[in-house]
Symmetry: C2
Subunit: 546 residues, 2 copies
């Protein structure tokens, strides 16, 4: 039996486009004489639909899409994910389901049993967990159909009391199909392959796995759909960060593979690079915007953001604006101009002195006799934001935010100033990772001026300011942050690891007391296992470590 | 048996303060010869602790608090909520538990079975649901102990497949105890009493119910703890919006009540008023701030916000700033000054013309020949924000946001302008509700100048501008918004209700395409069953109704 795997870039709530893509893939599979085609989890509505799921109207459109798709399933069967209605009087209203479509109609529904409800996932908010799992009988084959998380309760430290495949395997299926919506982080592709192979090793039947690709605001889906044979060899690994379509011959999955694909350690920074470019591209494309603007300081963060956005949108669609104050150094201006020229990105140089002076005049009688402090620093950052936002309003740009994760963590940024933007491009990269990404970008040529990379980082908001005046060295800071944010280590654990107690307490307090700032930041493209945003939910008014 | 109910204003993660309050209440109860004292759900850490629960260090501090409290339980028993560790290898790491403390130690743990995971609740993110419920035997009484949601699966449309009291009642308990964290909305107190009485009517034993009081960022807990006798009469209803301590004699709950408290229809606007005052007070108090600042326009929204903040913080602790542009009317300035004088609130008048002109000069060569548009409107709002934020930085104020729910819904506000602030005070009130609140405030005297209430609302950002130039009348707009946001009605349902199709589609599109703005707004004090913020999670890049 020939089976097609369709890895598609869906758009949340865009039923017309999603349905058309699905039907197109079905036609394609039919042309190539496939008997079955597999789509991803919640394919018809895109993932995650979030609280759209609470609207009856939205669910009706999902069901209408499935019915439209079913009509196309003549001479071919399809498996497609959608939210279905729980008709039981008790429990939540919906299931996260896969429809098995054949002979022009829905033949059976199969619901998700294990509902992820951690980090960025909220599935128990909407869905009732499935209790009874049934095999699909199709053309003499028995198919064990599961949905994403259903296969992840394997190995040690199991998050759920049971594993649905344990029930399904008792019905002697011939192969497994798993439809998924598994968002990217720099460890995820490796982790995913390991988990799926574990399933094959445990249940001793082949596995077909279909994932989403494309970005939905902060979540980036990397694709990488898979076919794994009975041996646990990866026979097909579909493209990363782009749509793909593969045809598997089921017989090939029963045999030892001639050319199995080994799990290679992927380059973390290259993955991040590709993910961010896709993240920018889809944010603009799916919202219907084409042009970005950003403030270019001559520092490393805005430099990397500019390179990525030029790659995603085209250099002619990105506008860089240099906004020097009287504290800006000439080398920063030079470095910024050099980068814009290297990239052939249009730029403007707009000094903020006149606006700054006007505020000084306006505020002088209220601030008389008080020293220059963070007020005047923030003022510069906020004037820049006002000018950039004026450009977005006048010309239809989207402002890109250039903050990194280290400064977002400790609150080293100005709310309504440099923390503005429609999308935070490198907001999930620690400063040390931003440097790694800059080196990666420059691996063949000096695109980002070397001076932007080697000079000591500075906000240039007061004379001779350096980040290191108020923060520990980024090498130390980022390690503490990583262990606190990604690894959820508390102060005692961090000190036991060898970090200085005073620094640890200072940093953790900064992180927790700056939650109010992060609450108001743009969505951040997520590339780590624990990003600021929807996957990290913290009290603002709290006293823990604060 | 005499039982004390302790209704306490906890502070999330403030173990020292929470433990001290709990121990103080235990001493008080002992002095008054109570044999049992009941505290709220997750009392030791405050509610909701959110992702602090993912830190082992945080859980250890919770457990240490319970152990400290247990030592005090000699000659008295206590029921206190805390997160406990699930020692099973499978399932989530934690339970949402109640400890039964007696004779100086933890005698037994009782876990929550039904985990709310809708609207503002995320409990399945952290907790494993309980499966086995056991009765507490104490001094010859059998106590059926449940936690909040455990009693809410009653009546029609049950969200969960089973109700834990159905198991517990089979063990013949003498009375029920329910410890809760039930946040306020203007319907909640009535709804809560109805649900609890239903439980008494079903299980035919008395009920003691202890809730939180106090605000935790956006969530306001209204207290109103209860004792209900076997008859279903409310025998004790504890104070709303403040700490309280009551002693119940168990014998009194077996008899028909002499003076049962009837469920009266509470005044919605008075409830909202009291909730918002508490919300402001606790936001400042728990964060350690004392002084607020806000922009006072002469319009209704900033007027109501100023009155509420002056009540919460004291008139001397609130600074009003009038920031007129050349489009501001003299009557707006007059109305604003009159209000500040009525409230004896200090105010400043700071025209924004000079700053506005400086931006005009800075941007003139880029915007040459282009007409005045939303850019210049937003510019005025953003200049105001920059000035207000300069005051917060220089003097340690917190900026209060004055946006209402109607404008937040349709995006009628300037991001990084009037959408700024540390806390949105009236952000969960539709414009029509803001008017009702203004009338309530003025019921005995004209505190808010009548002119601010009766004049047509205007942002005054261009000549002769009125809100009604671009929006339908608020009477219509708010109804459509209410049915879309609170009631989750889709376009076809709204049109079937009689609303104009073109207006409905325009409004719903505005709501959905402005999600990106609401993503970056301050936390909003929640007073309705569906507020913008943590309880409404929408895709930004989505195509549904957009």
């Amino acid at each position: 039996m020939k089976i097609a795997l369709a890895q598609i870039n869906y758009h949340i709530g865009n039923f017309e486009k999603n349905t058309a893509s699905i039907i197109q893939a079905i036609q394609n599979a039919k042309t190539q004489r496939c008997e079955l085609i597999v789509f991803a989890e919640l394919a018809v509505c895109g993932y995650p639909p979030r609280d759209f799921l609470e609207f009856t109207d939205f669910i009706e459109q999902c069901i209408a899409s499935v019915n439209k798709i079913a009509v196309e399933c003549v001479g071919i069967a399809a498996i497609v994910g959608f939210p279905s209605i729980n008709s039981d009087e008790k429990g939540k209203n919906l299931f996260n389901s896969a429809a098995f479509l054949s002979e022009g109609k829905i033949q059976s529904l199969h619901h998700k049993s294990l509902l992820p409800n951690y980090d960025v996932f909220d599935e128990y908010r909407y869905f009732e967990p499935n209790k009874n799992s049934n095999i699909i009988n199709f053309k003499g084959y028995k198919i064990a159909l599961t949905i994403c998380e259903d296969l992840w309760n394997i190995g040690e430290e199991q998050l759920y009391p049971y594993s649905p495949m344990d029930d399904l395997i008792a019905q002697h299926p011939d192969f497994m199909v798993n439809i998924a919506a598994s968002p990217f982080n720099y460890q995820q592709a490796e982790c995913r392959k390991t988990v799926l192979i574990k399933n094959v090793e445990k249940y001793k039947i082949p596995l077909l796995y279909v994932n989403h690709v494309g970005a939905q605001t902060e979540l980036i889906f990397d694709g990488g759909s898979l076919a794994i044979n009975t041996n646990g060899d990866i026979v097909t690994e579909m493209n990363y960060f782009e749509e793909d379509f593969s045809i598997i011959n089921l017989n090939d999955l029963q045999l030892p593979a001639n050319n199995s694909i080994t799990i290679t350690k992927l380059n973390k920074i290259e993955l991040i690079h590709n993910a961010l470019v896709l993240g920018i591209k889809d944010y603009f494309g799916k919202l219907g915007f084409t042009k970005a603007i950003l403030g270019l300081s001559g520092g490393i963060d805005s430099a990397v953001t500019l390179v990525l956005s030029a790659k995603a949108l085209g250099n002619e669609n990105v506008k860089a604006v240099l906004l020097p104050s009287h504290f800006s150094s000439q080398h920063s201006i030079d470095d910024a101009i050099k980068l814009a020229e290297n990239l052939k990105v249009p730029y403007e140089l707009i000094p903020i002195d006149e606006a700054y002076k006007s505020y000084e005049n306006t505020l002088s009688s209220y601030f008389e006799g008080l020293p220059f402090d963070v007020t005047e620093e923030n003022l510069q950052a906020r004037i820049r934001a006002v000018i950039l936002m004026a450009f977005t309003n006048k010309f239809g740009y989207v402002l890109l935010n250039t903050s990194n994760k280290s400064e977002a963590a400790v609150g080293y940024g100005t709310l309504y100033g440099d923390m503005c933007g429609g999308l935070a491009v490198i907001g999930d990269l620690y400063k040390t990772e931003v440097y790694e990404l800059a080196h990666f970008i420059n691996k063949n040529a000096e695109i980002i001026p070397n001076n932007s990379i080697i000079k000591p980082p500075s906000a240039e908001l007061r004379p001779d300011q350096k980040d290191s005046d108020s923060l520990p060295d980024y090498g130390i800071l980022d390690q503490i942050l990583y262990h606190y944010i990604e690894q959820r280590k508390g102060p005692r654990e961090l000190i036991a690891m060898g970090f200085d107690g005073i620094i640890v307490k200072k940093i953790l307090k900064l992180v927790n007391t700056n939650e109010y700032k992060r609450h108001q930041t743009p969505p951040i493209l997520r590339i780590s296992p624990k990003a600021f945003g929807m996957g990290r939910r913290m009290p603002i008014v709290g006293k823990y470590l604060a």
